[in-house]
Amino acid sequence: MACSNWKGWSVRASSRSRSLEGRGLLTLLLAAALGLSLLSVDWTGGLLHSRGVSSAVRIFGSIFTPELSPKFLGLALEATWKTLTFAVTGVTLAVGIGLPLGIAASGVLFREGWLRTSTAAAARFVLAFLRSTNWFGHSCLLWHLGCRRWPRFSHWL
């Protein structure tokens, strides 16, 4: 924006410096919070478990010696295929559930009026409920509702 006099420049410069001061203050506050949290950690002892070092060395060392036997690769391929199957099935079902709900939530099926508003609100509520819980939470919920086909998970409870 063209400025006709120097007073306009000074007003713009002062407002710019005020915003920078606000950001500087926020940066200082965040740095202080980080510093305080670091100071509250007991750095003297017990931070790293000594027995885990050898396991960590073995784990990182095994990166350079991968298992490449045909039997293991076949097992990995089969497991990868199962993962892909689960993912594609899950997302396909998600599209089948999400597309009608999304169309209802957008309110494009009705022009005006209470029907459009109420349909959109109800669909958005359902979508928000579905989004609210992580997929692991949904899996726990389904487990408690009776979908108990997790042999390795059952011993956790």
């Binding site: 073995r58 784990i59 060392g61 095994s62 097992l75 990995a76 497991a79 990868t80 199962k82 993962t83 892909l84 689960f86 993912a87 594609v88 099935t89 899950g90 997302v91 079902l93 998600a94 599209v95 089948g96 559930i97 999400g98 597309l99 709900l101 999304g102 169309i103 939530a105 957008s106 309110g107 494009v108 099926l109 009705f110 022009r111 669909a123 958005r124 359902v126 979508l127 928000a128 409920f129 579905l130 989004r131 609210s132 819980t133 992580n134 997929w135 692991f136 949904h138 899996s139 389904l142 487990w143 979908c147 108990r148 086909r149 997790w150 042999p151 390795r152 998970f153």
Partner: protein
């Protein structure tokens, strides 16, 4: 089945919300033309909104498929036999 349902329920919420936004954000001029020709709202949706929003919807669906593959691998810890399950078995046997 529970794993598939868990993935489907969570991602349906995310996908549905985004689909609704994509359908609302399409250009309005072609839709006005369809409306002027006497098309119903359903026909405007089927022949106007969905074809225009389809590229965005498809790309986001494949983006979520990548998330789904990662979630399915983690679900191995609850019993599904996929790479995560094999990794966990190997680590239990200290076979790094």
């Amino acid at each position: 089945m529970a794993a598939i349902l868990a993935l489907a329920l969570t991602y349906s919420g995310i996908l549905g919300r985004l689909y609704g936004d994509f359908l609302n954000d399409v250009p309005q001029n072609p839709l006005r033309a369809l409306r002027a020709l006497g098309a119903s709202e359903f026909k405007i949706l089927a022949y106007g909104r969905i074809p225009m929003a389809m590229p965005d919807m498809l790309s986001y669906t494949f983006y979520r498929l990548e998330f789904g593959v990662r979630s399915a691998a983690i679900l191995s810890f609850v019993g599904i036999q996929d790479p995560g399950y094999q990794i966990q078995l190997a680590m239990d046997d200290l076979f790094y």
